[in-house]
Symmetry: D2
Subunit: 139 residues, 4 copies
């Protein structure tokens, strides 16, 4: 299992007339959080993309439990439970920094996709080699 925490300060433009973060912005937070999580694992998404493999989102789910407010400092935790093979699933937990309450949980599934041939592919060897050390059961 791998986990990583990304911090984000809630911006005024992200809040709606109910005074809370509008629900779609959490999915933008997820993107920023996983980019930094993958970078920490040694897998900058830009390098992957430059090698011709992109990672489109194929599935996502979000559950909204409590609201976040303007100027809150949020901690978005990205959790990768299983070694990615043909897909990578990332689970998310959003809290205020230093507070235990879950505000939002969710997950995003991405696949590896050959940009030129326009088809899904298994994780490239270089990706497997980079990610494997973070997961127990990988031979």
């Amino acid at each position: 299992m791998f986990s990583h925490v990304y911090e984000h300060r809630v911006r005024f433009r992200e809040c709606d007339p109910m005074q809370v973060v509008y629900h779609t912005h959490y999915i933008d937070y997820f993107e920023a959080a996983r980019t930094e999580a993958l970078r920490e694992m040694g897998l900058p998404y830009k390098a992957l993309q430059d090698s011709g493999v992109i990672m489109p989102v194929i599935d996502l789910g979000v559950r909204y439990r409590r609201s976040a407010y303007y100027d809150d400092l949020l901690a978005i935790t990205s959790i990768i439970k299983e070694m990615p093979r043909v897909r990578i699933r990332i689970d998310y937990e959003v809290r205020r920094v230093d507070e235990p309450d879950l505000l939002v949980t969710g997950h995003v599934t991405l696949c590896f996709f050959d940009a030129e041939r326009q088809r899904p592919v298994p994780a490239p060897d270089s990706v497997v080699a980079t990610l494997a050390p973070f997961f127990d059961s990988v031979s």
Copy 2:
């Protein structure tokens, strides 16, 4: 069951470097689609909100099947299968106008929420009266 089709022209700003609609924008399309669906049912969200009942999103899920491109004219179908009581679940199907292929499917669940008391409430009587005629099994 109630269904309603909302059309949206894909904007340049909604497309990403893969040349496709970035995944979060579909959730914005869902918002526009349900606002117009509810308006057609006789339930303008703004009137509901002015009466003190707001409808926060509590849950959403999206499955991405095929890509949409810049300048595509999309048909976003909102489907309400069951008479809303304490929650309202809306399912979505996104296609290109006049094409059968599903591009994206998803759902959003909203609850009725008393803005002043800050707690969930059942659908107000006026809402029930407005929506009931669209559903078979409602007495």
Copy 3:
């Protein structure tokens, strides 16, 4: 001179905790408005782009006079005063539909840009031929 009116319904996600449209969204409205204005002139931006000429924004200005609110139906008027040669300047006026008061005014300047050679170019002949009839002084 050429002018064109595009209508837009203000969405909940576009409004901020002050209950008004957040200022950056008007610039998104401008994009949608000019896309439809150019389409009506016979110049779909997508066709131009497919021919290898893109139109990056090089300059913009906006003056905010009055607020717009959730669910307002806005009329965004795009005005092209002069025949575009190497740049195209579009002025904008935003009002509520059927109301005289100006809410927001602005302008955006775009240039014609050869995507492959990565340099500004004059308006392609086909663009000049399409746009010229809308302007008096063009020979």
Copy 4:
């Protein structure tokens, strides 16, 4: 004069099919930059807002000189040249971190506005007291 540098990592969702940051996102960067600039001056916008004074944007201008790309780390410099009295004008310069070339320049003008009475007001005394030390000519 007061200046402050805010860093921002360009996100995938902020880039368009031309592979560059879409022009409206810079205005969002400006918001984040000035929030942090004012916080450093001792004037958290949230505290101001809680006191009943809001700061709507009344005017903005942006000039786009060079493109920024996915995953670039940007330095957005906020510059306040004059002590704010009834308005506050903030100039912006966007560069890549540690690079001298200007990518984008702009300015945003905000006014002080009494939220309850819905009218512009001079800068509150507490704001003047907080900001004055940063400007030479203030008595």
